[in-house]
Symmetry: C2
């Protein structure tokens, strides 16, 4: 008896735009629900291994630095190569006060902060 | 060449307190790093299947509703039983404007919103 971490839900002004960005980042297929939201899993199937990413519409804009954020590993390439790819997808580098760190602080198209770690994963 | 979703990072005033709560929620072992933060994985091993949850200290308090939140499935019990357990661990029910929904909106000890879904998973 416990809880299973099932989904990470991201409030969006434009769920399709933010969903498309993260679909490209993770190379996961984007699925549009019948209820006006979008979601991703590694296979495009709802029963895929968690977590799913779910993009839901909200009326309000992002305000201030997010309290939760996602960290990514470069997969099959090094950090510099993946950084170049993320920037080409619409990410931008942001300053949240980091100084000399091994990761790169970025933001998605609606300003949600995330980090690209230095450690490469070949999976 | 892509990015792998590695970690969910949660800014905390008291990383140990918030980490202990989530360790109990997920029944994952809590690990204290040498650098003043705490983290969880399903096995307590850094190489466990992602995502890890990472609790980092920040000077500022939470302000406003989080833009990202976690959704949980009850595992091995129904929603009502798991809700009772979560409340006993220190979660509290919160009103973020939800009306008649199948999930329960809760907050962790520092007010981070999360949802307990209705769908039970026997895993």
């Amino acid at each position: 008896m416990a809880s299973l971490l099932r989904e990470i839900v991201i409030d969006c002004e434009d769920p399709e735009r933010v969903g498309r960005f993260w679909a490209s980042v993770l190379e996961w297929p984007l699925v549009e629900s019948e209820s006006g939201f979008y979601w991703l899993s590694s296979t495009g199937d709802y029963t895929a291994a968690p977590p799913l990413l779910v993009f839901v519409p909200v009326p309000e804009s992002k305000a201030g630095k997010n309290r939760l954020h996602i960290d990514l590993n470069p997969s099959g390439c090094d950090q510099a190569e993946e950084l170049e790819r993320l920037l080409s997808l619409g990410a931008r580098q942001v300053d949240v006060g980091q100084v000399d760190v091994a990761w790169v602080v970025l933001a998605d198209p609606e300003g949600n902060e995330f980090c690209l770690l230095g450690r490469r994963v070949d999976a």
